[in-house]
Amino acid sequence: MKILVPLKRVIDPYAKVKPLGDGSGLDLSGIKFDINPFDEIAVEEAVRMKEKDGSHEIIVVSIGTSDSEEQLRKALAIGADRAILIETEHIYDSLGIAHELEAVVRAESPDLVLMGKQATDDDNNQAGQMLAARLGWPQATFASKVEAAGTRLQVTRETDSGEEVLELPLPSLVTADLRLNEPRYIALPGIIKARSKPLEKRPASVMSSPKTRTVRYDAPPARAAGRKVSSVDELVAALQEKGAL
């Protein structure tokens, strides 16, 4: 099986970011970048599938500037076989990314697209669903378990009302939730091996114009100081006073 894992370079999710003074963007000085954690989970899952069945091929793809090579190399170090960078400075929204990935899928014909359910920078949670729709493929989102069952996939997804188990034919698309797995330590020999794995650069092909536009960046307002109450009665009274009860 051929598994395609799209991944995004994002600001280190643990970094504290500040908007630039004029709100035109974020102050990125000294900020580290990493693979979007949900995408790293998707890479990890693909690698685990390959560990069970060595015939799988794992292709990772990222869309962005050459800076994203760093994240692609990391995915190769985790165990992907080859990488594609769609090299572009174009600004995309989720639909634009789905368009661009659709072209990659048509060129590579994978059996499975496995990707993070959302990226921790924009938190859109859309690209996977949009890509599946454009391809006309079955999709299973928020996967917490993925099992190959012959030529089909069994995917457990977490929903508000409990677990749902889906069976999908291939090709199909799965988006990874946090509980799918815990990514491994990246072993040093894997990092060395990744140096010689192929990383191919391709130009962007669709570059659709975004349907959304970022107007400005503002820091969330500082949280107002709380108030301590000494008893439950006082708490209830305070909540009633605020009209919360």
């Binding site: 000294g30 020999p189 990744a194």
Partner: protein, 544 residues
């Protein structure tokens, strides 16, 4: 012959990529200012990924188990070493031909720094991946390397290094351990003291004397007849590491386990130590790094007088000074590591070449060892102060950091021995015409150092003061060049360090010469900015 491996390629890469300038040689900092030095910011993205794996390993596998490690829970430490081995940490800079990763010594040191957030694990992994292998790598026969190195690099075996004895510490060559040849065997008798990893080690590199005078190195397997390990020493710190005596009673060693030439064991022992000292420097700032993290986190949480103690000027001053000195130690360590790699690249390969390469930057290795271990001591001490009374209890991890740090200034050559060695080496090289003591004139400290070296003086106090001046000059130059190359907050870190370094240098100058000396003022100590940066990231300074 060492294989053409990554180690050597990387050294060359750094020169070609212009990361270090080509003309530096041992002690040349004293009379020259290089155009460029290697800085921690120059590690490549995939090297940083390796460093990140090391930090994750420390945070997820080591730091949650400090209590159990200190109690030497059965099997715990060896299992962690094996786990580390699976990730590649037991043979970072050993050649690929022996299942090592063949990475540069500089990168190995950086990785060790991040594996050293706890002292006990640090010394265990540091010795088995470093000083227990380096003798074999540099001086071993191909068959010996094939036989032993893969076991050590995989983490299947744990290695140890046995030089010290009950009556022979700093004066290591006065050892009384004997080796005699009986037919097809060597028979060893004696006691080696303070042997790290003794309890877990499968292989010991033992120095002993043949005919009571010719120091020779031997590879001693734990299960050889006549080999035993005494009880654990009761130590003040590093309780999770094993330190015990190795007892050799008619221990029988095959002839082929003699390492290198009979009577040249001191080459093996001391060259391993040169590189060991360099790595110990990075292993000392690892715990200091963790102490800064702990101190910053606590300072933010603790409130007194209705405000966070991190707002108090004297607490901020501590955090700034911790950051400044950490920065300087870090600057000099990784500058030195790149130089060592360069030396191996240019001279290494043959046994004689390896020996020369390991020796080339011995002065810098000693300077790194002394400065870094003293910076570590300062940082763990101030971390306790930030914690107040809580720091004095075992409830918080800083007390352990403090206890564990104490031995850094004692082993791998005490700081006194390293000081004597450093100045002595500089003067010897100058006498041999290999370097000039005229000073680079690039700073106040280098001028003081050159004047002090020109002063007629003698005795250990004089030598020690010269050594301090040379060491401070090297640290200052490294910190200055890194700030120049990388800028940002490092400019302030440099200024803050400079103020301390100049005062230390002036004191040393007075001791050496008896003369009064003027100390220039440092324009901006950057206390608030440095403290703010440390409090924000809860870590030593990063490039901004």
């Amino acid at each position: 012959m060492l294989r053409k491996s990554e180690v050597r390629r990387l050294g060359k890469d750094n020169i070609m990529a212009g990361l270090i300038s080509n003309q530096q040689h041992g002690g040349s900092f004293f009379s020259q200012t290089p155009e460029r030095i290697f800085t921690p910011e120059d590690f490549s993205p995939d090297e940083n990924l390796m460093i990140q794996t090391a930090e994750q390993f420390s945070r997820k596998e080591i730091l949650p188990q400090l209590e159990a490690l200190d109690q030497q829970a059965e099997g715990l430490m060896p299992s962690l070493v094996r786990k580390a081995g699976e990730l590649g940490f037991c043979g970072i800079d050993t050649a690929e031909a022996y299942d090592g990763l063949g990475l540069s010594k500089n990168l190995a040191a950086r990785i060790l720094e991040f594996l050293s957030l706890n002292g006990s694990f640090s010394v265990t992994i540091g010795i088995t991946s470093g000083i227990s292998q380096v003798g074999l790598s540099l001086f071993g026969e191909e068959s010996q390397r094939q036989q032993f190195l893969p076991k050590l690099t995989s983490g299947e075996w744990i290695g140890a290094y046995a030089l010290s004895e009950p009556n022979s510490g700093s004066d290591a060559l006065s050892m009384s351990c004997r080796a005699e040849r009986h037919g097809d065997k060597w028979v060893l008798n004696g006691t080696k003291m303070w042997i790290s990893n003794a309890k877990w080690a499968d292989l010991f590199l033992v120095m002993a004397k043949v005919d009571g005078e010719r120091v020779t190195a031997f590879l001693v397997e734990r299960n050889a007849p006549g080999v035993s390990v005494a009880r654990e020493e009761h130590k003040m710190g590093l309780k999770g590491s094993s330190t015990a005596r190795l007892v050799l009673e008619n221990a029988e060693i095959p002839l082929e386990n003699q390492l290198y030439v009979e009577g040249k064991g001191h080459h093996v022992a001391f060259n391993a130590l040169n590189l060991g000292r360099f790595k110990l420097a990075s292993m000392s700032i690892g715990p200091a790094r963790e102490a800064i993290t702990q101190a910053a986190s606590y300072a933010l949480d603790r409130k007194q007088f209705g405000q966070s103690i991190s707002d108090f000027g004297l607490i901020r001053k501590k955090l700034a000074e911790m950051a400044g000195r950490f920065y300087a130690a870090e600057s000099m360590i990784y500058r030195t590591g790149a130089l060592i790699d360069q030396a191996f690249d240019q001279q290494g390969g043959s046994v004689e070449g390896n020996r020369l390469a390991a020796e080339e930057f011995a002065i810098e290795c000693s300077a790194c060892k002394v400065l870094s271990t003293e910076v570590e001591a300062f940082i763990v001490d101030e971390a306790i102060q930030v914690f107040g009374g809580y720091g004095f209890t075992e409830e918080f991890p800083v007390a352990r950091l403090y206890r564990d740090a104490r031995v850094s200034r004692i082993y791998e050559g005490t700081n006194e021995i390293n000081r004597v060695f450093l100045a002595d080496r500089l003067m010897r090289r100058a006498k041999e015409g290999r370097l000039s003591l005229s000073g680079s004139g690039d700073s106040y400290l280098s001028e003081l150092a050159a004047k002090a070296f020109a002063h007629a003086g003698s005795g250990q106090v004089f030598i020690g003061a010269l050594s301090d001046l040379a060491m401070l000059s090297y640290a200052e130059q490294s910190a200055r060049l890194r700030a120049k190359q990388q800028g940002g907050i490092f400019d302030l870190a440099y200024q803050n360090f400079l103020q301390w370094a100049q005062l230390q240098g002036a004191a040393a100058y007075q001791i050496a010469t008896g003369e009064a000396v003027h100390v220039p003022a440092t324009p901006h100590l950057g206390i608030d900015e440095l403290a703010a940066a440390v409090l924000e990231t809860k870590a030593p300074l990063r490039k901004t």
